[in-house]
């Protein structure tokens, strides 16, 4: 895109700057639209599994429900509790929302269609997702209220715990791909299994890691069955209790953007990103973005399905699963994968 702007008579610096701004808008705006639609899809899937209709009044099939909700919260008054720490109280949802958008900078949407094609793409995602906890913790503290504070404590412990095993899972993938660059990881999956299946997830040695990643992803984004940070039976609404109108909506948008990001990571790290599932020439006629979108939607369906069917974990069970099951298992798997790769001369 930079070249286009240079041709329009800009200096290289400015062309790069304008091109980057355009790229950011090209990702962020469709992402927001996608989040609105995915909230609708989530509610519809959830309703269908509970034999209900779900949103069906606003627009055809209720398609405009999310926009109506958005308009509603936009027109509401922002209530700030008098005992709250005002500045931090307002900054917290902005942090959550911004961080949820930032990670998308390194996601490859198609061959070469990535905003920042950096060497340390996967580490960048790990770094940004570790920032996500601040929005919740600051909200819990700044609200100056009991339940949000409990929720913030839970969120901090939960996210740190599952980040550890996610780190080890990522190491397994990186060992096989030989790079931290997201596009490089996708390309390394081309014809990975038997020379025609695209994706590390089809590899018997990496498949268990994908299962772990899917579950850890649910815990990391605090989705059901790990939504202990907003467990309504114990904590009212968790860290969002004191929030209203737009500041509440920013949490909602950020949360679903994070869920979409986790689905995308599942697709990119384990199921070949923008590659078609099978390495067969006619399948490449379909645009890579379509394949990525289909995979994201598939994983989002799994997330919704789990949310509709699995009961919530208890907090000690969540911690046990993270530290006593996932951590040793993924550590053992790093050992196994690196041992296998050394034995077969992968690094030679």
């Amino acid at each position: 895109m930079t070249e286009t702007f240079i041709n329009w008579g800009m200096t290289a610096d400015w062309a790069w700057f304008v091109a980057t701004i355009c790229g950011i808008l090209l990702i962020a705006l469709p992402l927001m639209l996608g989040v609105a639609m995915i909230i609708y899809a989530d509610r519809k899937i959830w309703a269908a599994m509970a034999l209900r209709r779900g949103p069906n009044v606003v627009g055809p099939f209720g398609l405009l429900q999310s926009f109506a909700d958005g308009l509603k919260v936009f027109l509401q008054e922002t209530i700030i509790p008098s005992a709250a720490n005002k500045g931090l109280f307002l900054i917290a949802p902005i942090i959550t929302f911004t961080v949820a958008l930032m990670a998308w900078a390194v996601i490859p949407f198609n061959s070469g269609a990535v905003l920042a094609d950096i060497n340390v793409g996967l580490l960048y995602i790990l770094a940004i997702s570790s920032l996500g906890v601040y929005g919740v913790v600051i909200a819990g503290w700044a609200s100056n209220s009991k339940y949000p504070f409990f929720s913030a404590m839970r969120a901090a412990a939960q996210m740190i715990s599952y980040e550890v095993s996610i780190g080890f899972i990522i190491i397994c993938v990186v060992l096989w791909a030989g790079t931290f660059n997201m596009n490089g990881i996708v390309i390394a999956q081309k014809g990975h299994v038997f020379g025609f299946l695209n994706g590390f997830g089809f590899n018997p040695l990496l498949f268990p890691m994908w299962v772990l990643f899917l579950i850890s992803g649910m815990a990391e984004t605090a989705r059901a069955p790990f939504d202990l940070t907003e467990a309504e039976s114990e904590l009212v609404a968790g860290y969002q209790t004191e929030y209203s109108s737009m500041s509440f909506a920013l949490y909602w948008l950020g949360e679903y953007a994070n869920v979409l990001l986790m689905c995308t990571l599942n697709a990119v790290l384990f199921f070949g990103g923008w590659l078609p599932p099978v390495d067969w020439a006619p399948l490449y006629w379909v645009n890579g973005f379509v394949w990525l979108l289909l995979k994201i939607l598939f994983f989002f369906f799994i997330f919704s399905w789990v949310k509709a069917t699995v009961p919530r974990y208890r907090y000690d069970q969540l911690m046990r699963l993270g530290w006593k099951v996932f951590l040793p298992f993924s550590l053992l798997w790093v050992f196994l994968v690196s041992g296998y790769l050394m034995a077969t001369g992968h690094f030679a």
Partner: protein, 205 residues
């Protein structure tokens, strides 16, 4: 030009937030300013081409260490008037520490400018090896040239970790743990019985 603007932006915010870490009255605000300082330092690292160090800074310090800081500071009920009471008493010590740090900084920069140290280029940018990324270069050094030192550092950390666990571990005898595999292995037949008692008769359990 964007490089220069970015540098001054990161540097100015870094220094300002570092000052605010020690100036702000509320410790939670201090920790948050510290996080902003870490973040901007990571930005500076990216500018000199050390992207791996920048990511490590964010993952380790912002993502883990600062969260624990925040955790502790939020839970503690600190009395600031009392903390500030010792300011004049500790002032000379603080000045001495600051002078020592400044001297070390000047010495280090001087030694670096004098050459012979093959750390990077004299203009401050990191020396990049042709055709190798940051991660590969660091990996090559850590696991090749300095393997034994690296492993020794790992061992020291492991011993420290085990020590910390041994010191703080306590066996609780008054709680009943949950045996998950036993729960999963339980079948409906063992847990429930189906009886049809006659009218007016109870059930023997």
């Amino acid at each position: 030009m964007i490089h220069t603007i970015a540098f001054y932006l990161f540097a100015a915010i870094l220094i300002a937030s570092a000052v605010l870490v020690i100036m702000s009255r509320n410790p939670v605000h201090s920790v948050l300013w510290l996080i902003l300082a870490f973040f901007n330092a990571a930005g500076l690292m990216v500018l000199v081409g050390a992207e791996f160090i920048a990511m490590l800074l964010v993952i380790v310090y912002v993502g883990a260490v600062a969260v624990l800081f925040l955790f502790v500071v939020m839970m503690l009920d600190i009395d600031f008037a009392e903390l500030r009471g010792g300011f004049m008493k500790n002032f000379p010590l603080g000045i001495a520490l600051a002078v020592a740090l400044l001297a070390e900084l000047v010495l280090g920069l001087g030694a670096y400018r004098a050459g012979k140290l093959e750390l990077g280029q004299a203009d401050g940018t990191a020396a990049t090896l042709a055709g190798r990324s940051n991660i590969e270069s660091i990996g090559g050094l850590l696991y090749g040239e300095y393997l034994f030192l690296f492993e020794a550092a790992g061992l020291v950390l492991l011993v420290a970790m085990i020590g910390a666990i041994v010191l703080t571990h306590r066996q609780r005898t008054d709680t009943r743990g949950q045996n998950i595999s036993k729960q999963i292995a339980r079948r409906p037949e063992e847990a429930t019985i189906n009886v049809k008692p006659e009218i007016g008769k109870g059930v023997q359990l």
